[in-house]
């Protein structure tokens, strides 16, 4: 497999020198010792400087329609995606981003418990899919993927960030905080809320994950940016509605939200959306990359499966933040802002009525 040399960080080169089969054996092992070893090596790598300012990151944004409720079939689809990317003229990407609920489809209702998997299991099966598609000695690459998570009986709408290759590592799991439970949505009935938004170091920059509605709230992006994220990955599943204009209204809304949030925080925002219909609800893909100037770099059609390829330079984050120092201004005012939040929380009587009144 060929890969542009510009994507190779020092730690990646080191990983390449390791015997390829060792990591594969470790992946197949399901006991805790191997996972701990893997986690230790991942932490060691993360302790190194994560990025250089000139680092570029090659991305693949995958929008597809999972087979409803069929986890095995969807891992096979993912394997096919990996195989297809092998032959892409841009070379194999550094990070492959999949939508929300990629292993099952989004609207599964009480079926969540049947399709949910532990994050470690998903990571292992992704690695297996990568090995099957690319060969056991493939070069490492990273994946962001949304799925329903089973954490010892507690269910979440989650997305993981994992490195696949000879030294696989599950680097982070984000659990969706903002669970839409209105109108066509009923998430909080079936899954629990996540509690934190974290930024974390990867071989390809410091990043954060927000899932769908998480990213509709500007404060989520603010927290990710304050924690140092250069890239926010957004696995999403947005049912299309509002056909009064040339594109569904939710596509326009998402683009506007991302444009403003990316420009305000000087951050890359990478959105991968489900497509296809589920019980009459059609998801709008429109997977896109929004640059840190609020500049839309690329966007897929809202319908139909597609893979979007693009390469970003992390230096753009610094340039954007210098040109529009809104994030710096926010940091300067942070104590006053948080005091206002605290006051607002303190002033709310417990059991205050929801702002949702009608319809």
């Amino acid at each position: 497999m060929k890969r542009p040399s510009k994507h190779g960080a020092a730690n990646e080169r080191a990983a390449r020198r390791r015997p390829a089969t060792a990591g594969t054996k470790r992946l197949k092992t399901t006991n805790g010792v191997s996972r701990r070893q893997s986690a230790r090596s991942a932490r060691a790598r993360d302790a190194r400087p994560a990025t250089t300012q000139r680092q570029t990151v090659s991305l693949a944004l995958v929008q597809f329609a999972p087979r409803k409720g069929d986890v095995r079939a969807n891992f096979e689809r993912i394997e096919q995606v990996f195989a297809a990317l092998r032959h892409d003229k841009e070379g194999f990407p550094a990070v492959v981003v999949f939508p929300e609920a990629s292993l099952s489809g989004y609207f599964v209702e009480g079926g969540v418990a049947e399709v949910a998997l532990p994050a470690a299991t998903v990571s292992q099966r992704l690695n297996r899919a990568a090995s099957a598609a690319l060969g056991a000695s493939h070069e490492p690459f990273d994946v962001v993927l949304g799925f329903y998570e089973d954490d010892r009986g507690k269910l979440y709408n989650s997305a993981l960030y994992a490195t696949l290759g000879s030294t696989p590592a599950l680097r982070h799991v984000h659990r969706k905080l903002f669970l839409p439970t209105y109108g066509v949505f009923d998430e909080e009935r079936f899954v629990s809320r996540g509690r934190t938004i974290e930024a974390f170091d990867t071989r390809h920059g410091r990043v954060a994950i927000l899932i769908c509605e998480d990213a509709c709230h500007a404060v989520s992006v603010t927290i990710a940016a304050l924690r140092g994220a250069q890239i926010v990955y957004i696995p999403s599943a947005s049912p299309g509605r509002g056909l009064e204009d040339v594109e569904p209204a939710n596509v326009r809304m998402w683009r506007d939200i991302m444009r403003v949030a990316a420009a305000e925080h000087g951050i890359f925002m990478v959105y991968a959306g489900l497509v296809g219909f589920e019980g009459g609800k059609g998801f709008t893909g429109a997977s896109r990359l929004m640059g840190p100037f609020g500049d839309l770099r690329v966007e897929a059609p809202f319908d139909g499966a597609a893979i979007v390829r693009t390469t970003i330079s992390l230096a753009d984050v610094n340039i954007a933040r210098a040109a529009l120092p809104a994030l710096g201004d926010l940091e300067s005012n942070l104590s006053e802002i948080t005091a206002m939040f605290d006051k607002e929380v303190a002033n709310r009587p417990s059991g205050a009525p929801s702002s949702r009144t009608r319809p």
Binding site: G111, L243, E244, V246, G279, P359
Partner: protein, 286 residues
């Protein structure tokens, strides 16, 4: 500068945003829906459409022909002996224009076979028997051609309860069920449905001389505007204040509120913690 010299910018009056429709986008969306829900999800390539000669079934026939190919669509005309000959002709026009298969099943014998036992049945009851008989035909034809009946009910009549329960609403998929009647008109013009069909008064053609608007007591454009506001969450007094009379608002609200049951599956007595669709929740495509 004098205050009156400042240019004043007036906001346009609010329109019925929920009723606007981009027909190009709607066509693309609904064709994707038909292909995805029928072929990809259910593995069915053949559509069975009851073609009445009215605008709703015409739009569905056009969409199905484009989505699946005319050779995979069967237009079924099902006249009763008192049905309007004009409706039959208009149905034929749709079939001719879309080049879908033309099948005629006269339901008179089947309907009369039952009504012989109910000679005093009211026109409404007779109409319901005809509507349900037509569904028997559509479902049987779908079994014959390994296809799927495609629904033709629009959002206005669904909300107003202006349909026969377990008849018009029974096909498993429906591309226009979330379009108000006035939006169906917009889409029909874009699709090229013959103007003689688009511009004629809508009728269920179950009773001679019947029209939808005559039955409902309000025009579709006004009913749709009220329905749209109602569903968005505006209260009756707010709708009246936006230019509607109290009687017409009450008429529409009354019809909606008295027909919620028609938009649901039968009510089942719950006796367990595993009651279907109460505790045991799985989506239709799971």
């Amino acid at each position: 500068m004098k205050a009156h010299a400042l240019p004043v910018v007036h906001a346009p009056p609010p329109d019925d945003a929920g009723l606007r429709l981009d027909p190009v986008l709607a066509r693309r969306w609904l064709i994707n829906f038909l292909r995805d829900e029928m072929v990809n999800r259910r593995g069915k390539k053949v559509a069975i459409v009851g073609v009445s000669g009215g605008i709703d079934s015409a739009v569905v026939a056009y969409l199905c022909a484009e989505a699946l190919g005319a050779a995979n669509v069967y237009g079924i005309r099902m006249p009763y002996r008192t049905s309007s000959p004009q409706s039959f002709e208009h149905g034929g026009l749709v079939i001719e224009q879309t080049k879908i298969h033309d099948i005629v099943v006269d339901i008179s014998d089947a309907v009369d076979g039952y009504l012989r036992y109910e000679p005093k049945a009211s026109p409404n009851r007779q109409g319901n028997v005809m509507a349900r008989q037509r569904m028997i035909v559509l479902f049987d034809q779908s079994a014959k051609f390994d296809g799927l009946p495609v629904g033709t009910g629009n959002k206005s009549e669904r909300l107003l309860g202006y349909f026969t329960w377990h008849a018009d609403d029974s096909p498993p998929i429906n591309p226009i069920g979330d379009l108000f009647k006035t939006q169906v008109w917009q889409l029909a013009r874009h699709l090229g449905v013959p103007s003689v069909i688009v511009e004629k008064p809508a009728t269920a053609d179950l009773i001679r001389g019947q029209t939808d608007e005559g039955d409902l007591g309000i025009s579709y454009p006004r009913a749709d505007s009220i329905l749209n506001r109602l569903l968005l969450g505006y209260r009756e007094e707010e709708i009246i204040a936006s230019g509607f009379t109290p009687p017409e608002v009450r008429l529409v609200v009354g019809r909606v509120n008295s027909t919620h049951w028609k938009r649901h599956l039968p009510t089942t007595a719950m006796v367990s913690t595993t009651a279907i669709n109460e505790f045991y929740l799985r989506p239709v495509d799971y």
